[in-house]
């Protein structure tokens, strides 16, 4: 919402300066968005007289002018076609910032001739787009004074942000009323003029809405004007419209725009001679089309309000008039529309048709239902004043809807809700300044809400009114009382777990990234997605049109982007949501890792290797350990999802439950995503890991340290290649669970010297005696059992 300072002062009697007004606007909820202080900006531009203008010796289109600034005469080189001796122009001396060019003038030499300043066009002063020539100031203008001040162009443009509840502040008067209530001045009375009527309206108005939908346009007030003279509106009106960014069109149209901004009352004017018999307010017909004032064709449906005559549609109710029935310069007879339209229907229509207009903006935020007749009077007066002609009596259809309502404010509520201790009398006075009729009752207030405050519905609204006008700077801040002397843990076990995973992974050299929750539907099928229910109806681009079924594709693409920038050894992870459906329970939390390239940079001492399935497995195990998962009890199966390499991937399970997956990515998937180089990944599901039962004590079991030396023994077995290593470890361990404290595989050999399909597996076991030193016989006995167990459970034979 834009207006100017002088415009505001039409409604507000005040001595307050600009800074104070702006500060107050912001504080009461009409936030200052921008300020265009022309008085300040244009102060250096003065009226000067061109005493001589000679052709530049070296340029056909330039003139060397002598300019009298009132103080001195300066030489200025000017390229404007209208620069001539004897004219008065707007002069900017050296050092002036020219807003339209965004430069500060310096003394210059143009083709060998010195130039001291510049004569300006309207566009250089940002007064209009006119840039064909310099401003031709009338001959009677005084030399040496500020041009803007002399021409009355030194108004300040103020732009405020209006929140959607404040339809009443979409008129300058509403803003003035708020400011007056804060004590910044007084609201001037708005005189409602008497309109002399001397002709009869040849046009009628009638409603033809279905009975149950009458409320969508309850009142239409029209007036016929005969023999008006349209044409450009007066300068002051054009100036104001231009200052707020509107283009002056003609007096009739400018009047409607002006009143829309001045009083928040949208209007429309028809060329009465283009209307057939009269106005009909009805629902649009399905498929009915209209060329609107924005010169676009719109196709309406039966949920929309049409303003029509007896034979054709004229406009879209509450939004925009039609081009064919609008007023033009030649218009002689006019029909004025002052009507009411339902906010919701207006919003729906505007959205469906994708039309923005000042009328829609106001109707969908609420237009004063009690300012229809008065609005018509103000507009009529202005039409007669600026365009002449004769007016008819008002032509009315429908009636003013009931808007009267009262809201009770209990006396103690402001204190209870805001902490502000305001006397009841102050509360009452504030509401009255805002237009409420208030009386005291039962220690509180009963307020009749003014017609223009369609947003105020309940007690809390009144509290806000009083508090914001009194000023939130008066809110005394208080500390929240502490709930406990010493704080309690505030994160859930799952949240703690995620934090642990995040920080463990970061310590493993992985960079945490955050990518979008959506991705391209081109790739979702590769990761178990392509779910109709997860495709965005209104995606922002085709790259981001489906909720991700897995974090991996976003990580993979991110890694490749980095690789394309020359980065190597990419190690990324993300902890976040992934989706199998749109219900809350279809959202799962994953901690996903990808690594691309080598395990490290090339180094003289440590030779990096390509990342492989075991790099991914290590990440997965570390992440699960960080989740407090019982990693030694996990089983590994080889049925990983299809986006992994089928022979180099695994699933980590606890019983039947999947804790995570890991592996090298499937080459076909990588190819489709355009990923180059060895790539591995894992996905961990922290919420799948069972939460340990809360322990009653933090005491740990006693530590028993044996004084006896542990003993180590090595074995080598021959076995079929497909037998998993895990089986060896389990079998060996099972030989004596208390004595054998560690089993490790220290060598695997396949190839030369081995029978095809066979491998050699070398195991080391550690025996940790607790009671007595082991004798050779004791050791021999355990070793035999290890061999027996392993050969029995794996089909292996001891290597001779």
């Amino acid at each position: 919402m834009k207006f100017t300072l002088s415009w505001l002062k039409d409604h507000l009697e005040t001595d307050a300066d600009l800074d104070m007004i702006c500060e107050r606007l912001t504080m009461i909820g009409l936030e200052l968005e921008s300020l265009d202080n022309r008085a300040e900006k244009l102060a250096p531009f003065i009226i000067a007289e061109v005493t001589a203008a000679e052709k530049h010796p070296d340029a056909d289109k330039l003139r060397v002018c002598m300019v009298n600034t009132g103080q001195e005469t300066l030489q200025v080189v000017c390229g404007a076609p209208n620069a001539r001796a004897g004219m008065k122009a707007v002069f900017a001396p050296v050092g002036t910032f020219v807003p339209g060019l965004e430069i500060t003038l310096k003394k210059g030499v143009i083709r060998g001739v010195e130039s001291n300043g510049m004569m300006c066009s309207e566009s250089e002063l940002e007064l209009s787009d006119e840039h064909d020539g310099i401003i031709d100031v009338p001959a009677d203008a005084p030399v040496g004074v500020s041009y803007a001040a002399w021409a009355g162009l030194d108004d300040v443009m103020i732009e405020v942000a209006i929140t959607p509840n404040r339809g009443d502040a979409l008129g300058v008067r509403g803003i003035a009323r708020d400011l007056a209530a804060t004590g910044l001045g007084t609201l001037k009375p708005l005189p409602i003029p008497e309109v002399p009527t001397s002709v009869d309206s040849p046009l009628t108005v009638r409603h033809a809405l279905p009975e149950e939908q009458k409320t969508i346009s309850p009142l239409f007030v029209g007036r016929y004007f005969k023999n008006v003279k349209n044409g450009p509106s007066p300068d002051w009106l054009q100036e104001r419209l231009r200052a707020i960014g509107l283009r002056p069109i003609s007096a009739l149209v400018d009047i409607t725009n002006y009143i829309s901004y001045d009083l928040g009352r949208p209007l429309h004017v028809f060329d009465a001679d283009k209307l057939d018999r009269g106005i009909v307010v009805r629902l649009a017909e399905e498929g009915e089309s209209l060329k609107a004032l924005d010169e676009k064709e719109y196709c309406l449906d039966s949920s929309m309000v049409a303003i029509a005559d007896e034979s054709k549609i004229l406009g879209i109710g509450g939004i925009m008039g039609g081009e064919d029935s609008g007023c033009v310069d030649e218009t002689q007879n006019v029909f004025l529309e002052v009507a009411l339209f339902d906010p919701i229907v207006t919003a729906q229509t505007g959205r469906k048709l994708n039309i923005q207009s000042d009328a829609r903006y106001r109707f969908e935020r609420g237009v004063d239902p009690a300012f229809v007749f008065d609005g018509a009077a103000v507009a009529s007066h202005m039409i007669l004043d600026l365009c002449g002609g004769e007016a008819s009596a008002l032509v009315v259809s429908g009636e003013e809807p009931a808007w009267q309502r009262t809201v009770t404010l209990r006396g103690d509520r402001i204190k209870a809700l805001t902490g502000m201790d305001l006397p009841l009398a102050t509360q009452k006075e504030t509401l009255e300044c805002l237009g409420y009729h208030v009386h005291e009752a039962e220690g509180g207030l009963v307020a009749q809400v003014p017609s223009f405050r369609t947003d105020v519905q309940g007690e809390a609204d009144l509290i806000e009114e009083i508090a914001r006008i009194y000023g939130y700077d008066h809110l005394k801040e208080e500390a929240l009382p502490r709930l406990h002397v010493i704080g309690k843990p505030t994160r859930t076990p799952l949240q703690c777990r995620l934090s642990s995973v995040r920080r463990h992974l970061a310590m493993r050299g992985l960079h945490e990234v955050v990518t979008f929750s959506f991705m391209s539907s081109d790739y979702t099928a590769l990761f178990g997605g392509d779910h109709a229910g997860l495709k965005l109806i209104n995606p922002i681009s085709s790259d981001l049109d489906e909720m991700r079924p897995s974090i991996l594709p976003n990580l993979l693409l991110a890694a490749q982007r980095n690789a394309d920038r020359g980065q190597t050894e990419l190690s990324l992870f993300e902890i976040g949501p992934q989706f199998t459906g749109a219900r809350p329970e279809d959202q799962t939390l994953a901690a996903s890792v990808i690594r691309l390239g080598q395990t490290g940079p090339r180094h003289w001492a440590v030779k990096p290797q390509a990342v492989d399935v075991f790099t991914a497995k290590a990440d997965a195990m570390a992440a699960l350990a960080a989740c407090d998962a019982p990693v030694d009890k996990l089983q590994i199966t080889t049925d990983a999802p299809s986006w992994y390499h089928p022979g180099r991937s695994g699933v980590l399970r606890l019983g039947p439950k999947i804790m995570g997956t890991f592996g090298e990515l499937h080459p076909a998937v990588l190819k489709k995503l355009g990923i180059k180089g060895p790539t591995v990944g894992c996905e961990i599901f922290p919420s799948a890991v069972p939460f340990p039962k809360a322990k009653g004590t933090k005491t740990r079991p006693g530590l028993e340290l044996s004084a006896l030396q542990p003993v180590s023994r090595d074995f080598a077995f021959l076995v079929a290649e497909e037998v998993p290593a895990e089986k060896f470890i389990k079998a060996a361990k099972g030989a004596d669970k208390s004595l054998i404290t560690d089993v490790s595989i220290f060598d695997i050999y396949m190839g030369k010297g081995m029978e095809p399909g066979q491998k050699s597996v070398a195991l080391a076991i550690t025996l940790s005696p607790k009671q007595k030193t082991l004798t050779d016989e004791d050791i021999e006995a355990v070793c035999s059992k290890v061999i027996a167990n392993v050969t029995k459970q794996t089909g292996a034979s001891l290597r001779g």
Binding site: T418, R502, E512, S517, A558, G576, A582, H603
Partner: protein, 360 residues
């Protein structure tokens, strides 16, 4: 006789002192003290002497033996030391060679900021609540007093998903974390103090908007918390978060459908050399929207507004992270550029807490 022994001693000692290496020294030792050595030979002659002479001679010989042995030991130490020095000299390596790099990862600024927020609000008794990213109209709009055709709803630039079942309306990607507040109020009895950090979505993508971003909202519901507490809570938060002694704040009126009265809070800042400095200067930056929870919202969640009241606030996580850490561009948070992550990310062990100060 003793002069002979003196000569023997001097000869042996000087031979020891001139021994070139440990092998020569060992030969000397054997030739002097070995079974067939010179001193040993003299010792053997003691048996044929009379007791007086034997005693004298024996003492003298022992002195010679001790003297030579001491010389042998001293020479051995010198030679061994020379050997060690020689070996050490040969073992020299180029210690300027770089060691193998340790892998260094990082925690994303969004996660770090959420941890910082959690540390601060934990101290004020807030717990952390979460909810689903895909919501229905009820939780994201209706319950929050944002009716379908209200202009506020349109301003949300909502992303829509197809309905879950045919008789339902479309689903939405939550446009704020307020639905978590609704779920909290519906699921737990007051007193309530929660913060709700999380992903949020709006169909807007330009220099200052990302279609997926993060918000943190706060909610306090009990029987006595008023707007003065809200202001106090937010001022304390700002001081703690920006780690400054004092922050100038401006608390001003605004409008949100789910709060009444509503406010926005600005913090004072100055811009110097392109860097924003919080807590100085007299320019204002809006960082938080807030207000007292609207009675309709309380009622929608089954709470009686004549009994319960409280406040809610919300702010952008990226925004406050950008302000605190001088990160210039919102979009870079999602680009996963490792150069950016190395620069703006945080060490894994750099866990925010209040006893060490939030950030290093």
């Amino acid at each position: 006789m003793t002069t002979d022994l003196d000569a023997l001693r001097d000869r042996l000692v000087s031979a020891v002192e001139e021994a070139a290496d440990l092998a020569a020294l060992e030969d000397l030792r054997i030739s002097a003290l070995g079974k067939k050595g010179e001193i040993t030979a003299h010792m053997k002659q003691l048996g044929g002497m009379d007791p007086e002479q034997r005693k004298q001679m024996g003492q003298a010989l022992n002195q010679v033996k001790a003297h030579v042995a001491k010389a042998l030991d001293a020479r051995k130490a010198v030679l061994e030391n020379a050997d060690l020095e020689k070996r050490l000299a040969e073992e020299r390596v180029d210690v300027t060679l770089p060691v193998a790099p340790e892998p260094v990862g990082s925690v994303h600024p969004i996660s770090q900021t959420i941890d910082e927020l959690t540390a601060i609000f934990s101290d004020m008794g807030f717990t952390v609540a979460e909810g689903p990213d895909i919501e229905d109209d009820f939780h994201n709009f209706d319950a929050l007093n944002i009716p379908p055709e209200h202009p506020a709803r349109q301003e949300h630039d909502t992303f829509y998903l197809p309905p879950v079942t045919e008789d339902q309306a479309h689903m939405v990607l939550r446009t704020h974390t307020s639905p978590v507040q609704i779920r909290t109020m519906m699921g737990q009895k007051p007193p309530i103090r929660v913060i709700c950090p999380g992903r949020t979505y709006r169909a807007d993508y330009d220099a200052t908007h990302s279609p997926n971003f993060h918000q943190v909202e706060g909610l306090v519901i009990d029987k006595a918390t008023h707007m003065g507490h809200l202001k106090g809570c937010l001022i304390e938060f700002c001081k703690a978060y920006f780690e400054v002694e004092d922050v100038p704040v401006r608390f001003r009126a605004s409008h949100f459908p789910f709060t009444e009265p509503s406010a926005e809070m600005d913090i004072g800042y100055a811009k110097r050399d392109g860097q924003i400095k919080i807590g100085a200067g007299d320019d204002w930056l809006e960082i938080v929207g807030c207000g007292m929870v609207h009675p309709k919202v309380l009622r929608n969640c089954g709470l009686d507004p004549d009994v319960y009241q409280g406040f809610a606030f919300g702010m952008g996580i990226e925004r406050i992270a950008m302000l605190k850490y001088g990160i210039p561009d919102l979009r870079t948070f999602y680009e996963a550029d490792v150069r950016w992550l190395r620069h703006y990310g945080f060490a894994g062990l750099d866990i925010p807490n209040l006893y060490e100060g939030l950030s290093r």
